[in-house]
């Protein structure tokens, strides 16, 4: 699975999407934010938003604040008015749908968008919540005990790594 070609596919999706009206990009920290940053650059958009789901995760009781450690360098930053906006949420991997639920809660703390769509590089299925993506790079199968991690090299190119779940 080539993350770079999936990225190009999403970029073309967004170019077509532009003719249906304006939108704002909001990438989920960290991987989704990298993708949003690059999409905004390639499409010549003036800005992009970052959503950090840490405050709304549903596993706080179980895992505590350790989840914040990895994302503390990337707080939520939405440089546009959320009220009335058409927002495209962007993430690297869609799995259980729990992160998307948390992202919606975080987004709504900033206002009431007119519409929210979801774009993901990879959809590994096995949803635990009623969530589906409007734009998908590719649907893939990943063993349950593995996690799919997006990486970005020095030149900004994307790749996927398969890692063991801790």
């Amino acid at each position: 699975m080539n993350a770079e070609s999936l990225y190009q596919k999403l970029l073309e999706n967004l170019r077509s999407r532009l003719q249906y009206g304006p939108f704002e990009l909001a990438g989920l920290a960290m991987g989704g934010a990298w993708i949003a940053q690059r999409l905004a650059q390639d499409l010549g958009l003036p800005h992009y938003g970052v959503i950090n789901v840490a405050f709304h995760r549903d596993d706080y009781a179980e895992k505590g604040m350790t989840a914040l450690r990895t994302s503390s360098t990337m707080p939520t930053k939405l440089p546009f008015d959320v009220n009335g906006a058409n927002i495209i949420l962007i993430d690297d991997v869609l799995f259980t749908g729990r992160t998307v639920r948390a992202a919606l809660n975080e987004l709504f703390d900033f206002g009431r968008p007119a519409q929210v769509e979801l774009m993901v590089l990879a959809d590994r299925g096995k949803r635990e919540l009623p969530v589906s993506a409007n734009f998908v790079g590719e649907a893939i199968k990943v063993p349950d005990q593995k996690i799919l991690v997006l990486e970005k090299d020095g030149a900004g190119r994307f790749s996927f790594q398969l890692e063991e779940r801790e």
């Binding site: 706080y60 604040m65 703390d109």
Partner: protein
């Protein structure tokens, strides 16, 4: 009996009782987490509240008065969506012991999740932490002249915010050190974070005898001690903890150890001035300094809320 144990069996922080011996990694985790919480007061965020402690009860137990600390803990807990119960229990040290722990047992029976404890007796919060069941967490909000860990952490947050790095930093703590739990917490945290030049300035009668052990430099003159420092932290003269004649009264103290513009000019040009509050203007600090461009005293108060949110959300999640 009163040994300090703020970690659970998995080695995670479950109470915050002291900064003495708190590892660097833990302090930085708290400061990084606090940085996230500072962002929730961003004007674009309509809901300035997060649901992490929803359904939890935070009991503010203030056996000694402190409006600022109690209020900022209350705001912090409410921004985390906790229910907050304030108990103002002014009491003397003799009411400690069994009756204190009886109070705690009753509050635990009312499903308390976090106790925020301010007590005039040193180590009272430690006694409470050793007594409560494992699911209950204790935050020391100042115990006697022992420790004030969240103040120390918010001071570290403030220094990091304005000066980025602790290495190479010169910090002067001025005034009543011997009665100051704030000074002790700051010295411990600064040492852990790698600050190599910590100075205390004050009259002999207000400096503890074990300062050399803590690795700090001692000065009895403002003119010598303030030279080229990056941070000046003034402390309140704690009359209530003193015997008569221990320190020169008001005017005389100000003349010798008050922070005025002439003295501050000896520090680096971009030095910042801190004070944990409440301030005695004209005793330890000149109004021109307190309200001046180098003062970050009110920033400390604002950062204090985020730091207390970080502490409560970390310990309650462990």
């Amino acid at each position: 009996m009163n040994s300090v144990n703020q970690f659970n069996s998995a080695g995670e922080l479950t109470h915050l009782l002291t900064l003495e011996g708190l590892p660097k990694e833990q302090i930085l985790h708290i400061l990084d987490t606090a940085k996230q919480f500072v962002s929730i007061t961003d004007p674009s965020r309509e809901v300035k509240k997060v649901p992490l402690l929803r359904g939890k009860s935070v009991f503010n137990l203030f056996f000694e008065n402190s409006t600022r600390t109690r209020t900022t803990f209350e705001i912090a807990a409410k921004r985390l969506s906790a229910d907050v119960i304030n108990l103002d229990i002014s009491t003397s040290s003799t009411a400690k012991g069994e009756s204190l722990l009886d109070t705690i047992d009753n509050l635990v029976a009312m499903q308390a999740d976090i106790f925020v404890v301010r007590h005039s007796v040193s180590k009272a919060p430690i006694e409470i932490a050793n007594h409560v069941p494992a699911h209950v967490h204790v935050v020391n909000a100042g115990d006697g002249s022992n420790q004030h860990p969240t103040q120390g952490l918010l001071d570290m947050y403030t220094m990091r915010h304005f000066k980025q790095n602790f290495k190479g930093l010169r910090v002067a703590i001025v005034g009543d050190i011997v009665h100051s739990r704030v000074a002790k917490s700051n010295i411990h945290a600064l040492t852990t974070l790698g600050c190599e030049d910590i100075r205390v300035i004050g009259p002999e009668s207000l400096l503890p005898s074990d300062l050399d052990m803590l690795g700090v430099k001692v000065f009895h003159s403002m003119e010598e001690g303030l030279k080229d420092v990056d941070i000046v932290m003034t402390l309140r003269i704690q009359k209530e903890r003193m015997e008569a004649g221990q320190v020169p009264e008001g005017d005389a103290f100000f003349k010798q150890f008050g922070l005025n513009p002439a003295r501050l000019s000896l520090a680096k040009a971009d030095a910042i001035v801190m004070h944990p509050g409440p301030m005695n203007r004209g005793v330890e600090i000149d109004s021109a300094i307190a309200d001046g461009p180098q003062s970050v005293i009110l920033n400390q108060v604002t950062f204090g809320i985020a730091v207390r949110m970080a502490v409560m959300s970390i310990i309650a999640g462990n």
